[in-house]
């Protein structure tokens, strides 16, 4: 060997060592945000490096094994979970999972947090923290529910020494983190595992379903919107339905509509659940309203209150209430009729699940809004205005989410047209007389039936709403209205919402409704605006002065 070859060897050996030293750390993990290191070691060198790192961290007390479990599928494999600790306090979310095969590490996954420099001596006791959380949650906390002292990696970076406690509240399964020094709330999140599934609606349209996973089952509990939205499947148990509506029992998880794979096929439950959420969205986006009571009241939908196949044997009152109807039962509870079996007709039409029409769902929920605002008395003119407001909201929600047109799943001024086959409707806002309802105050029903004709006389206000948007000529008065146009429907919706919910008293009259909506138009768009003019012309055209 020439003398020169010895330095070559030394240089190459040095290079190998240097390269390994500099390049190996880059292979271990990816930085997953400030202070967080995501670990996905599956290849030989990475696994060996992390194996050694875990040994060092265990020796230093930075990792503690939570235990090792045998693999139930692959024989010989085992899985060990190791929690990260900082000065004896668990780091929330810091965890490594090591898979071994016959003692040989196969993979390491997890995340570890770096750069933790906080003091782990809490000023508050666990009892202090539990008291604070109880106050925050509005729930009593028993002595067995002890807060855990943890180091919390903060979303905005850095760490906080906190007490962690999971509490079941009336609306949520919430996890609280309170500062172990000051008692301030650092983080709260819902531990309800929400997810988005899909389902087929009554008209075989695919919708998204906001659901919650409990014990491996997907449940129709919407945890993504501010209020809890439940859809219960009463499985045709009318007695249970009535007992619940009368407050004689509370429903539980077994009553919640459920699905095994989050691909929902119960069309009644899908539409009830989705449309309830859409209605909440409309109220929020259009009026900045937070649910029925503006305080995110829980919204509860009841589907399958009776069994379809029993339709022929039930009293007509049950048929009319629980089969061919939908109603708002107060306290945020809606009940949707079961419809009739295929091939069975009433009034010459087949009737599907009553949750299958978005305007019907929104109509019932709007009764809840009225309950918490003007609380219009459900008889005579105030009752007609109550119904009209629900029709207005129902139609507005339909236009908010569907394309204008005719037929199923299209937005129009018909009410309930998606419920029957062939498509029909209960009422028309564009032409109330087509369904036997008055389009002019002079034609109002003045008898006592239907609480003084609340479902008939609503046509007067409905038609005023229609004319204010679309314009046109009232068939009775012959008066023309210059509407704001379909593109500006939002303005008229806001005017009627403001007038009906903010200004009307419980015993309001049509005349009051005119004055209230004109005031709303002036408030929102100014005196003399085209909106005020349209509203004024519309009420005049329907004979309300």
């Amino acid at each position: 060997m020439r003398p020169a070859q010895q330095p070559v060897r030394r240089a190459l050996a040095f290079l190998a060592v240097l390269s390994t030293a500099l390049l190996t750390p880059a292979h271990l993990s990816a930085q997953a945000g400030t202070g967080a290191r995501a670990v996905t070691a599956t290849a030989g060198r990475d696994v060996r490096a992390w194996d050694a790192q875990i040994s060092r961290m265990v020796r230093d007390g930075q990792l503690r094994s939570r235990g090792e479990q045998a693999d139930l599928i692959l024989e010989g494999r085992s899985h060990e979970r190791l929690d990260q600790f900082h000065q004896g306090v668990r780091v929330f979310g810091g965890e490594l999972v090591r898979q071994a095969d016959g003692g040989q590490t196969v993979s390491v996954f997890g995340s570890v947090y770096t750069g933790i420099r906080i003091d782990t001596d809490p000023a508050l006791s666990p009892q202090d923290a539990a008291t604070i959380v109880a106050a925050l949650a509005g729930a009593a906390i028993g002595p067995d529910l002890a807060p855990e002292l943890v180091v919390l990696p903060r979303d905005e970076g850095g760490y906080a020494l906190t007490y962690r406690l999971r509490v079941l509240t009336a609306e949520d399964l919430a996890v609280f983190f309170v500062d172990a020094g000051t008692g301030e709330l650092v983080l709260r999140y819902s531990d309800l595992q929400t997810t988005i599934g899909t389902g087929q609606g009554v008209h075989n349209d695919t919708k998204k379903m906001s659901t919650t996973v409990r014990n491996g089952t997907y449940m129709a509990i919407d945890g993504m919107r501010p209020p809890a939205i439940y859809t219960y499947d009463l499985k045709g148990n009318l007695a249970r339905t009535q007992a619940y509506l009368n407050g004689l029992l509370t429903l539980n998880d077994t009553d919640v509509a459920a699905d095994a794979d989050n691909q929902w096929s119960d069309t009644a439950a899908v539409d009830a659940h989705a449309y309830a959420g859409w209605t909440y969205d409309y109220l929020y986006k259009r009026f900045n309203r937070q649910g029925l009571d503006n305080r995110n009241l829980t919204m509860t939908s009841i589907v399958h209150p009776v069994r379809r196949e029993d339709w022929a044997s039930v009293p007509s009152s049950v048929l009319n209430l629980y089969y061919l109807n939908a109603f708002y039962a107060g306290r945020g509870i809606m009940v949707y009729g079961e419809g009739l079996p295929p091939g069975v007709t009433k009034g010459g039409r087949e009737w599907n699940y009553f949750s299958g029409a978005i305007d019907v769902v929104a109509h019932e929920l709007a009764h809840g809004v009225t309950d918490y605002t003007s609380d219009l008395i459900y008889r005579n003119e105030s009752g007609a205005l109550n119904e009209a407001f629900s029709d207005i909201i129902g139609t507005s929600v339909e236009y908010f989410f569907q394309q204008a047109g005719s037929g199923y799943l299209k937005a129009d001024y018909l009410l309930g047209e998606d419920l029957s086959a062939p498509s029909g409707a209960f009422r028309s806002m564009a032409n109330p007389q087509a369904y036997g309802d008055p389009d002019h105050y002079s034609k109002r029903y003045t008898g006592t039936a239907d609480n003084g004709g609340v479902h008939d006389n609503s046509g007067i206000a409905n038609h005023a709403f229609y004319l204010a948007i679309e314009g046109g000529v009232n068939r009775t008065s012959g008066l023309a209205v210059q509407g704001v146009g379909a593109a500006n429907r939002e303005k008229i919706e806001k005017v009627f919402y403001r007038g009906f919910t903010q200004f009307l008293p419980a015993n309001a009259t049509f005349s009051m409704a005119r004055a209230a909506t004109l005031q709303a138009a002036r408030d929102l768009y100014g005196a003399g605006s085209d909106v005020e003019r349209a509203v004024e012309q519309a009420w005049t055209a329907v004979g309300v002065s």
């Binding site: 020439r2 070559v8 190459l12 390049l23 880059a26 990816a30 930085q31 998204k208």
Partner: protein, 310 residues
């Protein structure tokens, strides 16, 4: 990455004992010319020492021709400077180690499709590669004149920065997307280059030499690639905020080319130092998810190191 190679001054010179000046080969004398009355230049045969010019007497200068004074020495013939390429490399080979930096590298774009709220979300990443350390070794043996063949091995470790745009489905409605964008940095990338290289040696000065090299190369890369967008959202979910990306380590490689030049200064007969640049390029198709991405590998590197001649 780039490695340096230094050829010793002794090795390429003609064989000589250590310490002795190299003897440069003398070029043959240029043919003399004379100008004829018609102005044409014709070749004049060189005079021999004993011959007389025709038409002249012995000892007397021929009329009309200048002569050097008697007794004066004729100036020594000017020593011609040989072209540097004429310097013949007589060494057996070279080896070199280097450390430096990768200054520029080709970026790439990648796409990922992933599920969000029961719908397909998309991620588009425009990656730029940062500056990172580079280490390597080269070696070769002379096969013909100044030509050597050999191999190179290089490692680079760099960070990637991703300009990310994405479309995230709305949780409650189909076909309603939220556009997000942001930057993710600190993604790892490491490359290993193995090259077959042909090198040409040239002497630039007494102790300064140069290798120009090129050849096919295989470049392997192991890098993080973005697979999902991390984001936050809150009711009514009409917007979403980009917070980062989820990544997956991906490996691959491709055959390409490498070329470079290095210049060295010889400190001793066998050891020198030097620096130079190398450019390499290959491409690989990496598949961090169902969507493959064509990724350019290599780049421009500068490095300094030691070289050894043998």
């Amino acid at each position: 990455m780039f490695t340096l190679a230094v050829a010793s001054e002794a090795a390429p010179a003609l064989a000589r004992p250590p310490g002795q000046q190299a003897v440069r080969p003398q070029p043959p004398p240029a043919p003399k010319t004379a100008t004829q009355p018609d102005g044409k230049a014709v070749a004049v045969p060189p005079q021999t020492g004993g011959g007389k010019p025709a038409g002249t007497q012995a000892g007397k200068p021929a009329p009309g021709r200048p002569q050097a004074p008697t007794g004066a020495k004729a100036p020594p013939p000017k020593k011609p400077v040989p072209p540097r390429t004429s310097k013949v490399w007589k060494g057996r080979g070279f080896a070199a180690v280097s450390a430096g930096a990768q200054l520029a590298a080709p970026g790439y774009t990648s796409t990922a499709v992933f599920k969000v709220h029961a719908e397909d979300a998309t991620l588009n990443a425009d990656a730029s590669i940062g500056i990172g350390p580079a280490f390597g070794a080269r070696g070769g043996v002379r096969v013909w004149k100044n030509l050597a063949v050999g191999a190179g091995l290089e490692f680079t470790s760099t960070d990637q920065t991703l300009d990310v745009t994405g479309r995230l489905p709305h949780p409650f409605q189909f076909n309603q997307y939220r556009e997000v964008d942001g930057t993710a940095s600190g993604l790892d990338r490491a490359e290993t280059l193995v090259a077959f290289e042909v090198s040409w040696y040239a002497a630039l000065a007494r102790r300064v030499d140069m290798f120009v090299f090129a050849g096919p190369a295989y470049i392997n890369v192991r890098q993080d690639m973005a697979t999902r967008i991390q984001f936050t959202e809150s009711y009514p979910y009409d917007t979403a905020a980009f917070t980062g990306v989820e990544t997956a380590p991906v490996s691959g490689g491709g055959i390409g080319v490498t070329a470079g030049v290095d210049v060295s200064y010889l400190v001793t007969k066998q050891f020198g130092i030097g620096g130079g640049v190398r450019y390499s390029y290959a491409s690989a198709t990496l598949k961090p998810s169902a969507q493959p991405a064509d990724v350019g590998l290599g780049g421009l590197q500068v490095a300094f190191g030691a070289r050894i001649l043998f």
